[in-house]
């Protein structure tokens, strides 16, 4: 998939099919800047791919917002204390 794209000239516009193959990587920020920019340009011009990207972005964002719970401060404090004891070469608390 990615190998095929490398064979293309850098100034050649991407097709809808190519954008479809790389869309998830683009949304997850897993592409290099050059390919990311070309996909972004395609999405601006192509209503069909733009709609596809919009739907997947909304899915990704909704999952992130609804499931991103705040970590309990007490757990973090205990683990930091545990780690700091280790770093100082001391017996960690509660072991």
């Amino acid at each position: 998939m990615i190998r095929r794209w490398w064979r293309r000239r850098p100034d050649e516009p991407m097709t809808c099919h190519e954008v479809g193959e790389l869309l998830q990587h683009f949304l997850d920020d897993e592409l290099d800047a050059g390919r990311g920019q070309r996909i972004a340009e395609h999405l601006e011009d192509c209503r069909r791919c733009g709609l596809e990207a919009e739907t997947y972005t909304r899915i990704k964002r909704t999952i992130a917002e609804r499931h991103h719970d705040d970590l309990p401060a007490e757990s973090i404090r205990r683990l930091r204390e545990f780690g700091e004891h280790l770093a100082r070469g001391e017996e960690p608390p509660g072991r």
């Binding site: 069909r48 997947y56 991103h68 973090i76 280790l86 960690p92």
Partner: protein, 179 residues
């Protein structure tokens, strides 16, 4: 890195800043806050013992590997279902009659339908979605946590999202793909 001072410095430099990420990932993979904290504690202990051999490159990936191995060791005997091939699970569930019944919550909103679709995913697929979308791991980091090739992470993630999207289309809260 040799000597106790070097080890302590390395531990403070590379490990302590990753505690929150480790706890977040541990909560995703254990689904139990108490177990997650224990898992991170064990991970820290193992990391401390191994810090002399760590070359200082990619500390998060190194720690996520330790966390994964620690988790496997803790649960190998208790969780035999982990040995099943997860990539057949999606097909198996998709083939089950009644899955994604079209009359289920048709009038509910987008957010609700995402929850339904997410809940219907096999556990291994949901975990990948959570590690990437909720915990913010890269594909490579998620692969470290799960102990699978990066291609498997991509495949599970993309198939999971496609399945969520199909559910949203079926329940009328997302437009049908015109591809």
């Amino acid at each position: 890195m040799t000597g106790s001072t070097g080890a302590s410095d390395a531990f403070a430099t590379y490990v302590l800043p990753e505690i929150e990420v480790l706890l977040r990932v541990a909560r995703s993979i254990t689904r139990d806050p108490v177990e997650a904290e224990d898992l991170v504690q064990d991970t820290l202990l193992r990391a401390f013992r191994a810090i002399d051999g760590f070359d200082g490159r990619h500390p998060r990936a190194w720690l996520l590997t330790i966390l994964r191995n620690t988790n496997i060791n803790r649960h190998r005997k208790r969780r035999p279902e982990l040995m099943r091939d997860p990539d057949t699970e999606l097909e198996r569930l998709a083939a089950e009659p009644g899955a994604d019944a079209p009359d289920a919550a048709v009038d509910a909103g987008f957010d609700h339908e995402i929850e339904v679709a997410l809940a219907e995913l096999p556990e291994v697929f949901r975990r990948v979605v959570e590690l990437v979308d909720v915990d913010g791991l890269s594909y490579a980091e998620a692969a470290e946590v799960l102990g699978v090739p990066i291609g498997t992470v991509m495949s599970r993630l993309h198939r999971a999202r496609a399945r969520i999207r199909e559910h949203l289309v079926r329940t009328g809260v997302a437009p049908r793909s015109t591809r």
